[in-house]
Symmetry: C2
Subunit: 125 residues, 2 copies
């Protein structure tokens, strides 16, 4: 899959992309997807665990992003109970696991920037 000419585009699932990087970014881009995936990369997590790991996301947004990732077959959702209180676990699919090296590299680059200039703060919420 190599674009040979400037007037060529990649077509995947009825969408057009100018470059293979944008295909990846369509799967993991946005404000929260890499964060969710990063938290799932070492094993499955329950909804509320994810919630606690991401103190500044809203429930609605987390829910929407999870659904999107599920639709893209990157994560899977498993329900363990039939009546409330529910137990739901999210984990990476085999396909989703192919993203781990990508997530690692993204995280490491961010870490290097942070080592020099960032500080850690607490959220009161």
């Amino acid at each position: 899959m190599k674009l040979k000419c400037d007037s060529e585009l990649i077509k995947l699932n009825e969408k057009l992309y100018p470059c293979s990087t944008s295909v990846t970014m369509d799967f993991i881009g946005g404000k929260w997807k890499t964060v969710i995936l990063y938290h799932l990369k070492d094993g499955s997590k329950r909804y509320h665990e994810l919630r606690k790991s991401m103190p500044i996301v809203t429930e609605r947004t987390l829910s929407l992003q999870l659904k999107q990732l599920e639709k893209d077959k990157i994560i899977k959702r498993k329900v363990y109970t039939s009546k409330p209180p529910l137990k739901v676990e999210y984990s990476l699919t085999e396909f989703g696991k192919t993203l781990i090296p990508v997530l690692e590299v993204i995280s490491e680059w961010g870490n290097r920037i942070c080592e020099e200039k960032a500080e850690i703060v607490k959220v009161s919420k």
Copy 2:
């Protein structure tokens, strides 16, 4: 730089991030930045060359993204002429070059998806 507790956030340049991946994504996220950077990774390019490599971006958006990348010190802009017609070249800074491995991995993952399911189309514009 390691978050030890769920109520901790990273603070960098007056912005808050929940995770080191989101720091990186703030630098290279959005619809066009990785595409621009990918085209610059093998050397400098003139404005119009970039333009031609990205047939579906608008001038305005390309211009805004270039400015943002320049502000973040990821790319540099060099002007070679003082009067029109102008000659301007964009290239990665040393800092920007540290992103190359990240871009490669992102591009390779996208490529693997494309190999299986994507096709190449031509834009008429």
